[in-house]
Symmetry: C2
């Protein structure tokens, strides 16, 4: 069973401690032994780190636990391969560019008989159903929302709801998606979230390498949303997504929600893990 | 003045020592103080690491100097901003997917009045002339070489020669490009390369995390090509690209070369740095 983690905040923060708790699930407290990945976003800026080793043994994961990467949105994933070989090429998050933004995507669940016809706008590099679904999503978004410049989440969310409903007919489609502006999260079967004003385990932006600039003054209360397959911390008040709930988060706030018409999860084992 | 470094080898190797010498140019022995980046490729697998700090001060660069990432092709870049703000979003290598492969690109030089009309297939995320040139290259390659599956270098190289000649009319266009299968390098004004059978400072693939698989048995002599703006090591026999020479390297061998019809470099300072 794969695990998703995501963060969205009103100002850049580091997620070192939360990330440490999460990557521990990659082998130490969980059985997610087939690699992991994390995408950091701050506006248009993005960096993706991938590793095909167990997160709990990964020197890169340990390093990222110490190295203060600032971000307003983070998407992370630890993987237990059920589809595709355990290989770097199959590690989430996957990333593609659309309308001059970098879009990162992670999926939890298994899709059955999911073989969409792809135009070629975006093609999978690896073998996972997840990357195939992501490529189809991006292709459809591109076709339905043509134009230049970063699309607004108000345009993206309703189209994404429609597309995710289509994919969700093929199996479990819990996902997180971001372009650095908004965090989109579908709790098809299993996802939870929490919001904190200023939690202790998420550090405020340090001065190191900081270039606040006129565009992002430190005004208003710091708001942080975390999303995870399973709640990460006991102290925070986690809320479970209603099955089929698609939510949008920006600046550390839940700002949009829609209930998708998805089939009830099947108790068959083949439709559970991933 | 930016610096390019690239490596292509017949079997996966680590480039830690060469990388250390190269990143020292990011502030310690050079004046390339505006960030750096490196793309590792091994077949379809790819990882890009970017940092907007000086390479010589970067904890991430130091970490990568120790962390044994295996690759058959590497593209690295240290940056002195002359176009676009010093910002992560402007750090090379840039990466996009085409025909199910991840393509990484780094540029050295400055393009003047370079504003191609882009269809939208690939759009820049940052502000550099380099990323704009890369997006145009990928768009043109996609339009001229339609199809699925990884394109052969024999198809790509002649088209790339034509496209690079067009871009090269706008200024200095030294670049490195790879899809993990072939390394394409244009020495428009300044680039050097060397080949070694088995250099001491490039370590053989270790057993750690190694999954040789049936596709890559350790057969034949190990061949390694290095490409750099300036020769990195005194012991190796470096050869200078003829100005305007586009070369293709696969499996650690120079296998194709074409002389492009590019304007003579201008001695004007504005056309030199980047």
């Amino acid at each position: 069973m794969c695990q998703l983690f995501a963060m969205n905040s009103s100002r850049p923060v580091t997620v070192n401690a939360a990330l440490g708790a999460f990557t521990d699930r990659g082998g130490r407290t969980g059985d997610h032994v087939d690699g992991w990945g994390i995408a950091f976003h701050e506006g248009r800026r993005s960096r993706v780190f991938l590793d095909d080793r167990r997160a709990c043994d990964s020197a890169l994961a340990a390093f990222l636990g110490l190295y203060p990467i600032q971000a307003t949105t983070v998407i992370a994933h630890v993987r237990k391969a059920t589809h595709g070989q355990p290989d770097l090429v199959n590690c989430h998050p996957f990333q593609r560019e659309w309308r001059g933004r970098l879009w990162s995507f992670s999926h939890n669940g298994k899709l059955v008989d999911y073989q969409p016809v792809l135009s070629g706008d975006y093609l999978p590099v690896g073998e996972t159903d997840s990357e195939r679904a992501f490529c189809w999503l991006m292709e459809q978004l591109r076709q339905r929302l043509p134009g230049r410049g970063s699309p607004r989440w108000q345009e993206v969310a309703p189209v994404l709801a429609e597309l995710a409903t289509a994919i969700g007919q093929h199996g479990e489609f819990n996902f997180t998606l971001t372009d650095g502006e908004a965090l989109y999260a579908l709790g098809a079967t299993r996802l939870a979230w929490t919001q904190q004003p200023a939690p202790l385990h998420v550090l405020p932006r340090s001065g190191e390498g900081d270039r606040p600039g006129p565009g992002r003054p430190p005004r208003g209360p710091q708001r942080i949303v975390q999303v995870a397959t399973e709640p990460l911390s006991h102290g925070d008040r986690w809320q479970v997504f209603t099955p089929g709930e698609l939510k949008v988060f920006t600046r550390g706030e839940a700002i949009w929600s829609r209930q998708l018409d998805l089939p009830r999860p099947q108790p068959h084992p083949a439709a559970l893990a991933a």
